[in-house]
């Protein structure tokens, strides 16, 4: 941390990087993050983290939850008064700390240097920096934050009053050639809608209005979110606002805007938020020199379209917004992809530089009476500000079996973990209770600490006195303190009944099954093989390629068919990949690390043992029933048009007029989602037509043009070359009629307000991308869920975009959601990286808090099997030696997630969750 890269020498596989470590003037080994220096520093300076909306002293930390929690002195504003040095009890302040250099050796480099928000004050017409009530989107995020300068209150900066009308202006510093930012920043439409929705949650009467040109909600479930926002009271006005004026007396803002029908409107707003775009960081040029990588015209890292994330310097990869503007799910997918791409070349060196933790001798607690240690956290001011922690500690001391208590400022800090381990050993504790924040985030940490002291991690219990107490009773100190006492009493009572639990271990079969041999499947197979693992690739058609077989051009001029041939060659030549064509997966048994799959091939069934599964089954093109498709040969889909152009069919290249209709079969009730690539595909094919016939008339009838990111430049090029874009509303779609052997498309031009009747030689439909009908069957076999639209459902949209909730199974490509070729490649590589986190394990560990069946009580009713979401419990039937049929429920430990649905549903009380069994849960209620 606090470091820069000074220089890079060497090459792929063996780089030497010189790191410059800037001094914090605080010794990281000694600093406990207690913040005493922070409270004593006399200097104030605008807080960069809060974008100048707040002040911060010279010695500070960026934000409360910063990792590592070590303070830093900003030498530029420090007075050198010596106060922090005096008050620091850890003696961590060191004014004489010097800059250091260190050389490290690495095999690959991943640059994730981020981006900067476009400086919206440079567009002075919007008044940012001049008008008090005009904020940038990031300033607004800080305002909305409960930990921010306004404590989460939405207030007008000028007078501190609650705003009624809030305006968002989109595309500030994007889609703006004059500002030198021709591209689209890809994330602003969605973040503005989000901010509007959240702001309304903070302030129910707030009336947000979003002024936009195109609503680029192209991602999975994005359109649904926007529709919900509309229903929730967010107003959308399609208009590009050119400037903002201010009423000097009230500091209210005045926006004059023109709607599509040509009418001018003037409206007053209490506050305006500018949706600023994402620009390359100012350090981009410097980074380009140090790392020897090329930049694009907009100073983002230059990478190739079909070899994404690879910079012009081999061994160096660029991800995230440094590679181009994008949202969080795209960044997270790119990160995982870069992990596998950057490590493929280093596969032979895997494990050579890591150190394994030394196992600790476990303490045998059998037969011991409970000796409970309770650690109560102040959590800075999060808890201590609202709960009398000292009083809670006094009370806890009086509880039976509690032999040790301690209060900590931050129980989760590194130094407290060390202290806890010491205390466990010295005081002979055999139960640990931590009263602090949420087990969702911190239970694993404390469990690890217990294991580090030799104590079984299941002898640990947490009382959430933050989320469930101090945070929700901020104005009732007395009651909150009493409640905290209750919560700790409950945790202590349960702790008495805790038993040590085993984590089961299973070996891992270091092989992967890839289902689907299209672009994503082939990429995943090659990626996994490059990491050193065997792969079985199953494809139901008789050749590899999937949807990629139908793509002939790209915007950057690359050749998809050559690329396809190359991939097919790589797959068939790789010794580690077994390709099974005309084959289908018949049956899948087992669990993560230990799958056994039966594959039906033309030569008979094949059995394959593997540890992970990557699902890359693709999607198909909707066959339109609209617009005379299938009835008139002049009505084509975009893919069919692309094929004809690739074949140089004269009928097409000589045609006069093309009318392209977007969103056919999508963004409707049947498929209420955006198919993401069709706008770009239409633009791409329009440009291809013009290359062959510059005089062709092309009309594109659209609802929103979603050429996001750098694709925006192609949209502009198409307009400059004479392609006419006409918008239509969902309620008034264009119509097609065939008359006297000619085709006529009728569409309303929203600007003129009149209906146009366009004679077309070809009508090209952007047909939706829809899931295969049998994806439900595969989903059942894999025991994974589909979303409402029939695409596979990932574990977490933002943070785990290629994982299924079920461990060991990953997804990539169109089967996840419609996407571009480069996005499929990235997602496939991400799936490889995630799969490798399992394949590289020697053993897979299953948590101890799983279900257990008492056979004597089980009536084999099957209810548990019915309710289990992980298919982890099944009723088994066996015949004993006397010929009696025994039926009972049996749990597959490796699949059980310990959710408790079975225990809740069992009428016989036969199945229970270890660590949360009936007596343990009842003990919480008894103690309350």
């Amino acid at each position: 941390m606090n470091c820069d890269v000074e220089s890079v020498t060497g090459g792929e596989g063996d780089f030497t990087v010189r790191i410059r470590k800037r001094p914090r003037y605080i010794d990281p080994a000694k600093c406990t993050g207690c913040a005493v220096c922070f409270t004593h520093c006399p200097i104030e300076t605008p807080d960069a983290y809060n974008l100048g909306m707040d002040v911060v002293p010279a010695v500070s930390i960026n934000y409360q939850q910063q990792v590592p929690r070590i303070f830093t002195i900003d030498r530029d504003i420090c007075l050198g008064c010596g106060l922090c040095f005096e008050v620091c009890e850890a003696r961590a302040v060191d004014y004489l700390q010097k800059e250091e250099s260190e050389d490290i050796k690495v095999g690959s480099i991943i640059i994730s240097a981020g981006s900067e928000l476009f400086a919206s004050d440079t567009k002075s017409e919007f008044g940012h920096g001049r008008f008090k009530n005009v904020l940038s989107c990031l300033e607004f995020e800080r305002m909305l934050s409960a930990s921010g300068p306004y404590r989460g209150l939405v207030l007008r900066p000028s007078d501190g009053r609650e705003p009624r009308k809030l305006a968002f202006i989109q595309c500030v510093g994007s889609r703006d050639a004059r500002a030198g930012k021709d591209y689209c920043s890809a994330a602003c439409c969605m973040y503005a809608v989000k901010e509007a929705v959240i702001a309304k949650e903070h302030l129910h009467d707030l009336q947000p209005t979003i002024f936009f040109m195109d609503m680029r909600s192209f991602g999975k479930d994005f359109d649904k979110y926007v529709d919900r926002a509309k229903e929730g009271g967010v107003r959308f006005v399609r208009s590009r606002v050119s400037n903002v004026e201010e009423n000097l007396h009230t500091n209210t803002l005045i926006i004059k805007y023109e709607t599509e029908d040509g009418a001018f409107h003037t409206e007053e707003f209490d506050m305006v938020v500018l949706s600023a775009g994402l620009s390359a960081p100012q350090t981009a040029e410097e980074l380009s020199k140090i790392f020897g990588i090329e930049l694009t015209e907009f100073k983002f890292a230059k990478t190739k379209e079909l070899e994404p994330l690879v910079t012009t310097h081999p061994g160096i990869y660029a991800i995230g917004t440094f590679q181009g503007p994008k949202d969080i799910p795209e960044t997270v997918t790119q990160s995982s992809a870069a992990a596998s791409l950057s490590s493929a070349a280093l596969a032979e060196a895997r494990g050579t530089l890591i150190t394994k933790p030394v196992p600790v001798e476990p303490i045998d607690t059998r037969g011991q009476a409970p000796r409970i240690g309770v650690f109560i956290c102040h959590c800075g001011i999060n808890i201590a500000g609202y709960v009398d922690v000292a009083q809670v500690e006094e009370y806890v001391k009086s509880l039976p079996d509690v032999v040790y208590t301690e209060r900590n400022l931050f129980t989760c800090s590194q130094d407290t973990q060390e202290k806890m381990k010491q205390v466990i050993k010295e005081k002979g504790l055999n139960r640990v209770v931590v009263a602090s924040c949420t087990p969702r985030t911190h239970e694993p940490l404390f469990q690890e600490t217990c294991e580090g002291a030799g104590l079984n991690s299941y002898l640990f219990e947490m009382a959430n006195i933050r989320d469930q107490c101090s945070w929700v009773h901020m104005t009732q100190r007395k009651e909150a303190t009493e409640k905290a006492k209750s919560l700790v009493r409950m945790a202590v009572n349960k702790a008495r009944r805790l038993q040590p639990l085993e984590r089961l271990r299973f070996p891992v079969t270091k092989k992967a099954l890839v289902i689907g041999g299209g672009l994503a499947g082939m990429t995943a197979a090659i990626g996994t093989a490059n990491q050193g693992f065997d792969v079985c690739l199953v494809e139901r058609e008789k050749e590899l390629g999937g949807h990629l077989r139908h793509i002939h051009f790209t915007l950057s001029g690359e050749n998809p068919q050559e690329f396809l041939k190359n991939l097919q060659y790589q797959v068939t030549q790789n010794e580690k990949i077994t390709t099974l064509l005309s084959s289908r997966v018949k049956k899948i048994d087992g669990f993560v690390g230990n799958y056994k799959t039966t594959i039906e091939t033309p030569k008979g069934d094949v059995e394959f043992d593997h540890g992970v599964i990557i699902v890359a089954t693709g999607a198909k093109e909707y066959k339109p029933t609209e617009y005379l498709y299938g009835k008139d040969p002049r009505v084509l889909t975009q893919s069919e048009l692309e094929q004809k152009l690739a074949n140089s069919e004269k009928d097409v290249t000589n045609a006069n007029t093309f009318v392209m209709i977007q969103c056919v079969g999508s963004r409707n009730d049947e498929h209420p989602y955006c198919c993401r690539f069709c706008c770009t595909q239409a633009v791409k094919n329009a440009l291809e037509i013009i290359k062959r016939n510059p005089r062709a008339n092309i009309y594109v009838l659209y609802r929103d043009i979603r050429t996001y990111g750098m694709r925006e430049l192609a949209f502009r090029e198409a307009r400059e070359k004479g392609v006419i874009f006409l918008r239509y509303e969902q309620e008034e779609p264009p119509s097609l009629e065939g008359k006297n052997g000619k085709l006529f498309v009728s569409a309303k031009d929203p600007i003129i307000g009149e209906k146009l009747r366009i004679p077309a030689d070809y009508v090209v439909l952007a047909a939706a991308t829809v899931p295969y009908e049998d994806s439900a069957e595969l989903a059942r076999m894999l025991k994974v869920p589909l979303n409402e639209d029939g695409f596979y459902l990932e574990a977490h949209m933002k943070l785990r975009p290629v994982d299924f909730s079920t461990d060991g199974i990953f997804m990539a490509g169109l089967c996840h959601f419609p996407k571009f070729m480069e996005e499929s490649v990235i997602q496939a590589n991400a799936a490889v990286a995630r799969a490798c986190t399992i394949l590289t394990l020697e053993e897979i560990e299953v948590p101890g808090t799983i279900a257990e069946v008492n056979r004597a009580k089980c009536s084999a009713c099957g209810f548990c099997e019915l309710v289990c979401p992980s298919a982890a419990v099944k009723v088994k039937e066996e015949v004993d030696r006397r010929g009696n049929i025994l039926r009972y429920a049996e749990v597959t430990a490796a699949l059980c997630k310990g959710c408790g649905s079975c225990a809740a549903s069992c009428r016989s009380g036969a199945i229970d969750i270890k660590g949360f069994d009936n007596s343990q849960v009842m003990s919480l209620i008894e103690a309350f």
Binding site: C3, Q66, V106, I111, S112, G320, T331, A339, L353, T837
Partner: protein, 57 residues
């Protein structure tokens, strides 16, 4: 040439962190570098993320 089993990740925002975790979980030593005194990047300044309304932190 001896391949080094380590990777440098420049930037400790959400991008750098995820890459670092995946690399570390598959057996590589990772150097995670950030010019700021702490990790988190721009995402640490966001309030809530859509659609789950999780706090960005």
């Amino acid at each position: 040439m001896n391949k080094v089993g380590a990777v440098l990740v420049v930037g400790g925002g959400i991008g750098g962190m995820q890459a670092a975790l995946d690399l570390a979980d598959s057996g590589f030593l990772v150097y995670l570098l950030d010019r700021k005194p702490g990790i988190g990047g721009m995402m640490a300044q966001l309030d809530k993320t859509f659609p789950t309304n999780d706090c960005a932190m």
